[in-house]
Amino acid sequence: MNQHYSITKNNTTPVDPGEIPVLEYGVFFDQVTELMKDDAKHCIAYYCFPAGDNLNFHCCLADDNNKNVLVLSHSLSNEKPALKSLTPVCPQFHIFEREIYEKYGVNFEGHPWLKPVRYPHDRADKSTSMDDYPFYQIDSEELHEVGVGPVHAGVIEPGHFRFICNGEKVLHLEIQLGYQHRGIEKLITDKRNQLQRCIASESIAGDTSVGHALAHVQIVESLGDIEVTGTLRAERCIALELERIAVHIGDTAALCGDVAYQLGQVVCEALRTTIINTTQLWCGNRFGKGLVRPGGSNFPLFEDIADEILKTLADSGKRFAEITERIYSLSTVLARYEDIGIVTRQQALSIGAVGMAARSCGIMRDTRRTHPFQYYKEYHVEPVIQNKGDVLARGMLRALEVKESIRIVTDLVNYWKQSHTQVNKPIYELKLKPERMAISMVEGWRGEIVHTAFTGKNGDIAFYRIADPSLHNWMALALAVRNQEISDFPLCNKSFNLSYCGNDL
């Protein structure tokens, strides 16, 4: 088959959208299904945007083996738009087709569940509301439904879970999201001021402030033709790994809490505090807000902070290793983690799972390695892989990734100590290249964060798309709880710790 797509050179290299061949939908469909037979490819973005009387579509497939992204395109008249759905042959397209359907009213024929994703304020059909989500129902006198949320029994974000159960056993879980919608994509295109865009991107998902801010900054640096020094790129990776370490330790605490292992919970809570307080020491904010800015940084690393990072990681790393060794050898804990909430490798591949959810069932998917960015271009990361896909695998993955991230940060700080150069002040007055598109990928602690943007004739950001890893991975949670006791749901949920606001945008 002939090639009908553009190939990006590497992560965040700008593309001229005019050079992406626009295909007949039939050709596009065949090409995508052919390409997707390769397990090393997955869809990272599929969206459309109005252009005159038409809707233009871009489909971005990450090719992990060749470290690039394939961009395919097709176009459609905006009048009663309908297309044959890709989802029955490539299930991972389900969420993207649903997004397009919800936002622009494109009817994907044959889509098995063409349902709302987040009820955005600018959706095509304003007559739909949060209250009338079309849940699956099964008529049976032996089954019952359990509704949970949107307001949950903890200090967490809102979302609605609807279980169909046979006794204690979950037959099906459907997840309705959108409660956290704030219109952030539109906000980023509307804001002309680069500082405002940076602050908005830090709030896409506050637990991944560094990850999302970095994905955004990569876009504007690429479109604005700004090169940054190795020192700054290393500092950004240090911040990203600190975020990963902190959240993984916090999640280990939450997992212990759910199985009533209190010592594990409190020790990990306190250890997380030491990490985020170190981030605060560096940039004045426990979540790293303010740290990542285009072209430079307001908070360059200093010797004393670098030393403090090394000291904290050495000490907390030792204590975390001690407690995790205990957690994962206690029979009472293992009995609750093992073989619970299994997602198979095949399922994960088919739904396009990314990040931790993919790596915990044997899939090598880590953008630090497969689509390197910032200092990971120079620094080789060996991703941690677990194979069983159960709660235990996701827990163990965290413990091992913390260890690995501590090693990475230690190496990077030592590199920094030997060779650091002056870090510039941030640049907010940016002139972006007109009519260019850029795709930015960052491996946040949950997984692959993808931001896509293109600029208009005058260099303004005309279109901005955000994909948090949760967008793909919520389906993994729904699959994980099938045939489990409903009482195992909280544990399964925590083992993924997906983002509501990252999905709802």
Partner: protein
């Protein structure tokens, strides 16, 4: 068992003994101080720079209810604006969040305007239900942290409940999304009287960076009496803790 004892030993004591005076990192951005001699053109500079229009272009005052604590104004005018690491910035009157140039005085609650029943009923125990209305999960995590092993706000009987039926009030985070408007109202209706409302984080107080987004619906927030404003992006656990201690009248430590 022996292993657990060893873990406890290397873990040591982690709890914050005095929640009033616990030191935080020197560069933590808390209460700002604006120099009294800030010039007109300097005010103009930072007021244009501010991403959330928190700085008055006339007086140069900073409104902490809008401020996202990015610190850019302090970087632009290092001699004139600085953020101290004073985390006690929660207040019970919205106007008290406006910090005028030339003033370096602690922010405290106005005792006279705290509703009488609050101290009377909630001093011994205050149970709160948190509602995230478009929050980004950072304020939520900091609120959860108030109950962790470090801060242990539970020592004063202040805790988050699973159900609004068991709570004495709600803590709202996030700018108030349209999609959460109904759930927020239902949660409030389910909370027994007397009850309080706390706005946690800058997003909740003013909308923050989301102000003006068509996806918001701040009707509930705009039309209810707010008992406590806790600024921050996200709020620091100690800001929330000290604000609530002042509100319900815990004066020891």
């Amino acid at each position: 068992m022996l292993k657990e004892v060893n873990i406890l030993r290397s873990h040591g004591s982690q709890y914050v003994k005095n929640l009033r005076i616990q030191p935080v990192s020197g560069i933590f951005r808390g209460r700002p101080v604006i120099s009294g001699d800030i010039a007109g053109d300097e005010i103009k500079l930072v007021s244009n720079l501010c991403p959330v229009k928190a700085i008055s272009s006339g007086t140069g005052a900073i409104d902490l209810g809008r401020c996202v604590f990015c610190g850019e104004c302090a970087f632009a005018l290092p001699g004139k604006i600085r953020f101290k690491n004073d985390y006690r910035i929660a207040v019970n009157r919205r106007e008290d969040l406006v910090i005028n140039p030339g003033l370096d005085i602690p922010l405290r609650l106005n005792d006279g305007e705290i509703r009488k029943e609050i101290k009377k009923l909630f001093r011994g125990a205050l149970k709160l239900r948190q509602v995230s209305a478009g929050g980004d999960n950072s304020c939520e995590m900091e609120l959860a942290a108030t109950g962790n092993v470090n801060f242990d706000f539970g020592r004063y009987g202040v805790e988050f409940t699973a159900s609004p039926r068991h709570s004495d009030g709600i803590v709202i985070t996030g700018p108030g999304g349209e999609n959460m408007a109904e759930a927020l109202q239902i949660t409030w209706n389910a909370t027994p009287v007397p009850k309080i409302i706390i706005l946690a984080g800058t997003d909740a107080i003013s909308g923050g960076i989301f102000e003006g987004s068509s996806a918001l619906n701040r009707h509930f927030i705009d039309n209810h009496h707010i008992d406590l404003y806790v600024p921050g992006n996200p709020l620091h656990p100690l800001t929330f803790i000290n604000g609530v201690m002042d509100l319900i009248g815990i004066y020891s430590k």
